[in-house]
């Protein structure tokens, strides 16, 4: 702040009690209770976010997904959903999707797209077809016609085989040789009347005869070998014939049924193609579905993991009613499986098995063609989900992946289902910090979420906006089944909205906080037997909420009142001032005074921040203290080196300190110590300061004032007590009723301070003094400070000179 001439500083003014709280103005809204108010959706005062939403929902290009950010509890999801619902209703209903068996490669199920509503019809049609086949196939294969043809084939081949053996048998018998069945095969031996000649009898035969028999057996053996070796070929031929018969029979049984089922889907090429594949598979694998007479073959379904007809069932992944518009899906638990679908398994004989009917849809499937709402924090904290979401958006298709294989949990055979093309608008919800962090560490964020919808925390407190918020309050009460609120109750809720916004000129849009307040007010109304919620109910709700959360505040105040924590609220003291701090714990904030002290002596020109030295002070606090050095350097003894050593400390502070809201209080303590002029202890101070001495706005002004007020009131209000706040914070004042009453009665005061000179004058009772030429006026506080600093410099000079002389003497 540049000095513009010898202007006497303005005397600090007490903030009129009327400005300590701004009452709601509902004069423009005629209603007795909120039951009479027209409803309104949750998007009041969100023009910027609304524009972003409109843009994001209309742009149909890749990457233009939405990231909605705003304060926690703003219920952005509800507000966005209401916007999306209007848009979704007018958009075409997206396709249905089903998974079907891939007969050529069962590990890769096929995805088929159908018009909306047709998936269920397809499923029902195929189920009926299967039911019909279950009856038709076995019956046709049990028919006499089939058996007759089958028997004919068998007899043909048996005859062919039998003829060979019969001829051999005949030839062998004619030569006195018998064919024998051994445990492992066949053999030949000389025989008489069908009985093998005893060995001794055979050995007694003349050698020529024996030789003759052996030769005959040798010839027959070759024939036997030839016949037996032809058996597999005959058997193959027979099986081929039987297979052809089975195929023809199956085709006869299934053709008409399949043609009837396919008729309803003739215009859908993918479905028609699947039905054709199904027809071929049925014909090729008919043995799976009918009871076979062959030894070793099983009846249908027996011993198999599932009914063989299951391969023809349809797994409806997603289906929608025609004309239902685009879907809006909110996934609250976006695990990888819940997001992109999953493949389930079932235990079968100790092993995990799966098939295409165990593919389950994820939120992406359900939202395909519409909107998917996700909580950003949830999706980034779920393993694999964030990467899968980006991958899906980049590829434009949903590929179901098995999380178990990612982490090596199972090595069992799994599926690789056809990816499903996806066109979805993803809406992520999160707080601002998360968005900015993601934007900083994940460069892909901007590739996929190009539209930012930033919800306002609050809106200007105009009469129109108060009326709008009143209608929103009516909606909240209605949606939650609460009593209606009368005018005064609505007014108090609006005023609380301003208090929540920390600004008398704004209204908080954190709907969840208002909802909590209304629910508790409704409870109080019920306890009091009120038909509608009245102002006292809201007041009681506020008080109850504070009381429940204020145990730590009460303990802190107790320690001050018991003088464990030393805080004076009367008298004056050099180098000591009451600073004010705010503590926020579990969503509840309260202020409490803290004693700040300062000691000075000649030194090297440093202001020591003890909090910083012991690493309890944060960077903002340290910055504030360093600004004090700048202030001193620019205001005092400009022609003299700064020869000050000052130490500043928050007394009895055992935790971390951050923020610069106490820097003005620290400066007052420093100036008091330098001038050796005491500061009033019946006043507390908040506000940051810059190097020019201008007092700047801080946060939590209401809590700070109330914190000091509570201590003063407990000790007895003297009428001189009060709080110095930055002038810029006056607009934020929404103080408690008891504070306002005390101020109105002149028993407490809030002072609006613009400069350090104003503040020090109020705290010391001495004018600060404005520099005239090169000096401050004689007797002014600033002159005292400057003189003290020059004295310190002189001490330093003398010390240095004496030191040099002592050095020469040595």
């Amino acid at each position: 702040m540049e000095d513009s001439g010898p202007v006497e500083p303005r005397r600090p003014a007490i903030v009129p009690w009327e400005r300590l709280y701004r009452r709601a103005d509902l004069s423009g809204l005629a209603f007795a209770t909120t039951a009479e108010l027209a409803p309104i959706d949750g998007l009041i005062g969100q023009t910027r976010a609304l524009e972003a939403l409109r843009f994001g929902t209309k742009v149909d290009k890749d990457g233009f997904n939405l990231f909605v950010i705003g304060p926690t509890g703003a219920r952005m999801q509800d507000a966005v959903r209401s916007v999306l619902e209007r848009d979704a209703a007018a958009r075409p209903t997206p396709s249905d999707w089903v998974y079907v068996n891939n007969f050529a490669d069962p590990d890769r199920p096929l995805a088929i797209e159908l018009p909306p509503g047709r998936a269920r019809l397809f499923q029902v049609a195929m189920h009926k077809l299967i039911d019909d086949l279950k009856t038709a196939l076995p019956s046709v294969f049990q028919s006499d016609d089939y058996h007759a043809r089958r028997r004919a084939i068998d007899e043909t081949f048996q005859g062919k085989q039998g003829e060979g053996f019969a001829a051999l048998q005949q030839k062998a018998t004619a030569q006195g040789i018998v064919i024998l069945r051994t445990p492992m095969g066949f053999a030949m031996a000389p025989a008489r009347d069908g009985q093998v000649i005893p060995p001794e009898e055979f050995n007694a035969l003349p050698e020529a005869r024996r030789h003759e028999i052996q030769e005959a057996i040798g010839v027959l053996e070759k024939e036997l070998e030839g016949i037996i070796q032809r058996i597999p070929a005959w058997e193959r031929q027979r099986r081929d014939e039987v297979r052809k018969l089975d195929r023809d029979t199956a085709k006869f049984a299934v053709d008409q049924l399949i043609d009837e089922a396919a008729e309803a889907f003739r215009e859908l090429p993918a479905v028609a193609a699947h039905i054709e594949r199904m027809r071929l598979d049925l014909v090729d694998n008919v043995a799976l579905f009918v009871v076979k007479g062959e030894e070793g073959e099983e009846a249908a379904g027996h011993g198999r993991p599932a009914n063989p007809f299951d391969r023809y069932e349809i797994n409806v992944l997603v289906s929608r009613a025609p004309g239902s518009g685009a879907p809006i899906v909110e996934e609250l638990h976006p695990t990888l499986g819940n997001l992109i679908g999953r493949i389930e398994y079932m235990a079968l004989r100790g092993a995990l098995v799966t098939h295409f009917r165990l593919i389950k849809a994820g939120a992406m499937h359900r939202a395909n063609g519409g909107y998917l709402m996700l909580d950003a924090r949830s999706i980034v904290t779920e393993p694999f989900s964030w990467a899968a979401l980006k991958r899906t958006l980049r590829q434009g298709q949903i590929a179901i992946e098995d999380v178990g294989r990612f982490v090596g949990l199972n090595n069992t055979a799994s599926l690789e289902p056809d990816p499903v093309p996806v066109k979805v608008k993803v809406v992520l919800f999160g707080d601002r910090l998360l968005y900015f962090l993601l934007a900083a560490i994940d460069p892909e964020l901007s590739d996929h979420f190009k539209v930012l919808a930033d919800f306002e925390n609050d809106i200007p407190r105009t009469a129109e906006n108060e009326a709008l918020l009143a209608r929103l309050i009516a909606v909240i009460a209605g949606r939650n089944g609460l009593r209606a609120l009368d005018r005064d109750a609505v007014a108090l809720v609006l005023e609380q909205a301003a208090r929540l916004a920390d600004h008398s000129g704004k209204l908080s849009l954190v709907v969840e906080q208002l909802r909590e307040l209304l629910i508790e007010a409704d409870f109080c109304a019920a306890e009091a037997g009120h038909a509608a919620i009245v102002r006292d109910d809201v007041d009681a709700a506020v008080a109850h909420r504070i009381r429940r959360a204020a145990r730590l505040r009460d303990r802190a105040q107790e320690s001050i009142l018991e003088e464990v924590a030393l805080i004076d609220t009367e008298g004056s003291h050099v180098g000591q001032v009451n600073g004010l701090s705010v503590h926020s714990i579990g969503g509840f904030s309260f202020g409490r005074p803290t004693r700040i002290t300062c000691q000075v002596r000649p030194g090297s020109g440093r202001v020591v921040d003890i909090e910083r030295e012991v690493e309890l002070g944060g960077p903002l606090h340290s910055k504030g203290v360093l600004i004090l050095s700048g202030f001193l350097a620019g205001h005092y003894a400009l022609d003299t080196p700064m020869s000050l050593l000052a130490s500043l400390v928050f007394e009895q502070s055992y935790g971390g300190v951050d923020g610069d809201s106490a820097s003005s209080a620290e400066l007052y303590a420093l100036l008091s110590a330098l001038a050796a002029v005491p500061l009033r202890q019946d006043l507390a101070v908040t506000g940051s300061v810059n190097q020019h001495g201008a007092v700047q706005a801080i946060g939590g002004v209401n809590e700070k004032i109330e914190g000091f007020f509570d201590i003063c009131r407990a000790r007895g209000l003297t009428g001189s007590q009060g709080v110095l706040i930055p002038q810029a914070n006056v607009q934020h004042l929404m103080l408690r009723n008891d504070v306002i009453e005390a101020c109105a009665a002149g028993r407490f005061a809030v002072y609006a301070i613009r400069t350090i000179d104003e503040g020090i004058a109020l705290l010391t009772g001495h004018e600060a003094g404005h520099r005239v030429g090169s000096h401050y006026p004689e007797g002014s506080l600033n002159r005292r400070i400057e003189d003290r600093l020059r004295d310190f410099a002189e001490v330093q000079r003398n010390f240095a000179r004496n030191g040099r002389e002592a050095g020469r003497g040595d």
């Binding site: 049990q142 048996q158 051999l168 069945r181 009985q195 058996i231 007479g293 062959e294 030894e295």
Partner: protein
């Protein structure tokens, strides 16, 4: 099971070195449902020992086994293995069997043994081999002749059974044909319906032959045919079984059963096992 003078107490099933699951399964199920004792009869061909003693004896093993010399020691070992296979198959088939069951291993010629071992209260089950080689080495007609010569009723079983459930069909040559009562008794035990065909009603053709040739005859879903021997030719049962793929039970007329009388001794070595 008792049926107007014919009382069946035992079902005898012939088992060779590679018993078929079909015949064993059918035998076990029928015995259980008709409350009959079950006798598995494994016949070891006595000719094989004589063969093994021949200096040039060798056997041809299908499925790539080729020709291998055969001697008494090898044969003995393989017969033991074959017995164990049959024992396992028999035990598996009768594991839930509530009545008496027994497996006997006898040596001799199957045809003679069947005739000798069977009794008037037996049903002897003769399965038609599906393997042509076995049909050639163990002619079914010889077996059937032997069985028919015995006092027992004979059940002819085709290599593949088309139906396991359905009505029991009796082919009646006369109003008092025992086949009707036997069919009714069996149908009752099986929980099936009984149907009767009057053999005289089929013009110009004996009913049984007609049934064998015309699969579309009225009763087309039967699971068993019962007929009396003598009313039809001996090959009729075989033809019906082959054509229709179902077992055919041939019972002896009352006089024949009494005339055949008690079985003759076989003289074969016998080993028995009760599971």
């Amino acid at each position: 099971m008792q049926s107007q003078g014919r009382s069946f107490k035992r079902l005898v099933v012939g088992l060779d070195v590679g018993p078929s699951d079909t015949s064993l399964h059918l035998a076990a199920e029928l015995a259980e449902r008709l409350r009959l004792d079950l006798l598995g009869l494994m016949v070891e061909d006595g000719n094989l020992r004589a063969l093994a003693a021949m200096p040039f004896a060798r056997e041809f093993r299908p499925l790539g086994g080729g020709w291998r010399p055969i001697d008494e020691q090898t044969l003995s070992h393989e017969q033991i293995l074959a017995r164990r296979r049959v024992e396992r198959a028999f035990a598996e088939a009768v594991k839930r069997f509530a009545h008496r069951c027994r497996l006997e291993v006898v040596q001799g010629r199957a045809a003679e043994l069947l005739a000798a071992i069977s009794r008037t209260d037996d049903i002897v089950m003769i399965s038609e081999p599906s393997n042509p080689a076995e049909r050639a080495t163990q002619p079914l007609s010889t077996l059937l002749d032997s069985a028919f010569r015995s006092a027992a009723a004979v059940m002819v079983v085709p290599p593949k059974i088309a139906r396991w459930h359905g009505p029991v069909l009796a082919i009646a040559a006369s109003p008092v044909d025992l086949a009707v009562a036997a069919a009714a008794e069996i149908a009752g035990a099986l929980g099936e319906e009984v149907r009767i065909i009057d053999a005289r009603s089929v013009v110009d053709s004996p009913a049984a032959h007609h049934l064998a040739a015309k699969p579309t005859l009225a009763s087309s879903s039967e699971c068993l045919v019962v007929m009396t021997r003598g009313a039809h030719g001996d090959t009729t049962a075989l033809a019906i079984a082959a054509r229709r793929g179902i077992p055919v039970l041939v019972i002896e007329p009352p006089g024949e059963a009494a005339r055949v009388g008690e079985p003759t001794a076989t003289g074969g070595r016998t080993r028995s096992r009760v599971p």
